[in-house]
Amino acid sequence: MATAFSTAKFSTQPFPLNPTSTTSHDSSIVFARPTSQFLGSTRKFRLTSSSKFNLSRRSKTVVAVSDVVKQKKSKSSPSLLITKEEGLDLYEDMVLGRAFEDMCAQMYYRGKMFGFVHLYNGQEAVSTGFIKLLKQQDSVVSTYRDHVHALSKGVPARAVMSELFGKTTGCCRGQGGSMHMFSREHNLLGGFAFIGEGIPVATGAAFTSKYKREVLKEADCDHVTLAFFGDGTCNNGQFFECLNMAALWKLPIVFVVENNLWAIGMSHLRATSDPHIYKKGPAFGMPGIHVDGMDVLKVREVAKEAIGRARRGEGPTLVECETYRFRGHSLADPDELRDPAEKARYAARDPITALKKYLIENSLASEAELKTIEKKIDEVVEDAVEFADESPVPSRSQLLENVFADPKGFGIGPDGRYRCEDPKFTEGTAHV
């Protein structure tokens, strides 16, 4: 029997769909029966009483989620959604994210990194659940809370830590910092400081994927882009504009909302007229799904379907992951506004603890194996700190190097030569 490690607050049962309760065209929508309790339940409603489904008639693809789950149930062992290897992989990734962020906090208070540092503690299930399903050529776009997205995507912990310390060995040569993690090799397209400004970039990456397939005739190009952003961003114009364009052109993108209920000190409920973000998907013609973001297996199931949709060319999906950040908005945030009871409730749903419990209870892994993983991660993080500590700081010559891809863009100086040919340019002391 599936043991769902969901919370006391939320039901794992999908809300029963009565076809007659929706519009008359909905006869094609089929949902899992209310009695089966399966992990990866996608129907989660915070409004209790209303029996309305909030998907439009066009989002028939939600069918597939339940179908996939049903298929999975028949194929593998009756209750398990993951194999042992997958389970250990997920566990390791989440522990890496947690340990890394905890180390960041330590380093910050020791004065090794500065500025605005936004930590991801508590939200690991979303990053791991989604990004572990991607291939290397798929793209990820994030926000300023991007360390763990970078790690999940495969950027080495050393490169991320060096970047945070502002060293040349950082993934962006020390020029980006905490909020601008980029990796060409792993197709991490950022790291953006302003909320919402990454979503059009993600839409552009998805556009390139479609363009490659249809114009450049690279028939096997099925790259998918994931755009991660928060609840505060969902009130921003760029969010809506990109939902429109992605649905219009059926771009291979998944919009992942990490709804942690707080935008610095602004509660989502105080900022949003209709706090159900997933509802905004069907308004633009794409499915909108709400999932428990503290449960990595549920997130993974939804992610599989959404990413599969995009890969098959069926268009975008909006996934709202209900999650929570255990720390403040950034290391400078005193975090006084959030109710300690709310924090305690979510702390009880810690995704790492939950996965650990699941793995052990389902005999997928032993305590010892998990401890080994934790030790290994501790070493990885320590090594990353050491590496970052020992790495050199950028020299002055690095100042002007990456302003332009083609440094002729600095123009022609009074002596008739291009400024970039001036020897002072490579020293970083040229006047440009």
């Binding site: 793209s139 950022g190 022609i412």
Partner: protein, 450 residues
Amino acid sequence: MVLVLRNYKLRNSRLVPSPFPTTLTGCSKPQILRPFSFQLSPMAAIFQGVGAAAALPSSPSYSFDSNKSVFSPRRSFSVRKGASFAVVRSDGTVNLNPKDRRAQLLISNAVATKADSAAASSSSKPGHELLLFEALLEGLEEEMERDPHVCVMGEDVGHYGGSYKVTKGLAKKFGDLRVLDTPIAENSFTGMGIGAAMTGLRPVVEGMNMGFLLLAFNQISNNCGMLHYTSGGQFTIPIVIRGPGGVGRQLGAEHSQRLESYFQSIPGIQMVACSTPYNAKGLMKAAIRSENPVILFEHVLLYNLKERIPDEDYICNLEEAEMVRPGEHVTILTYSRMRYHVMQAAKTLVNKGYDPEVIDIRSLKPFDLFTIGNSVKKTHRVLIVEECMRTGGIGASLTAAITENFNDYLDAPIMCLSSQDVPTPYAGTLEEVTVVQPAQIVTAVEQLCQ
């Protein structure tokens, strides 16, 4: 330079070319159907503003192109066909193919040293005549043929052909995905262009009017300008952002903005302004081929300028200025539409015995300090004529740059003529006095040369 007049109707604040031709002296057939139609002719404005007292160009040949086909047939050219592209410097010398003197001769003619050489060049020389918007279209089309990664995005660029017809016919030829009609979401589709550029495409994003790109400022400043740097050089953004700006014919304050002054501080971008069909095509091609993000400023009133341009492939260097008229007494630095006001004033000045050197700076960021500097060292007097506002415009930056670098060579303080710091009024009489007129330029030169 030959000018073409068109009758335009305003519909929903977009310009639609009317099929009816008009003459300079007024409409022989009263085909002005709507109260908003107007003539798009900088020369006409000059005549109305300054009066016919100004010397007319010696060969005013105005032709009416309402039904002219966009692409005239290419004639065979005596220089070897299939010549690889040559980088043309503003002084007419060609960097590649040094043996090709024929090409040099033709190309230096195409960059008009005197405005009334247009008649001479259009007689029986090879090359083909076209209008500025057609030159842009030609450049864009050639680049799209050359590289399948080049694509266009913008409002009404596809089926509509562009509100100024710069993308006419491209959607039919290249398809709806390559010439993408976007919804009205500047910030997002500009960001989309940036994301596409980061992942391998070379988009050309059109702002229907440059002013609309104010909505895209977030993406242009943060992502377009900075992503190459903040990613440590990992991602290049070979995007071209283009569109018409400047003060038109009573378009109202919001459609008459000069965004070059707002964008100039953004690190990591290049800005160029085209002013003739020759440099429009050349700059368009150079911008598309450049690995840097480039903003190409066109002007609403210059789209119908006609010129004969070479048949063979050429580009104009993005960082160089263009010598329009060599001279001895004073350096006049200008760009875009003001070039024509300056040339109009130059005729008056020549009659009065002055010899102005006119340079079209073309590259608004970075400035070509070599061409400018050489000129300052020769004439020792500088007048900047621009359409930006007085405060914080390109002229302000240029004044600072010249003072910093060439202060010792100046015999007089730099004069800068800019538009008034006023939202462009709708009324024609008021609009005329917000921008610099040739008479002011003449007065300024006289003052400078005292």
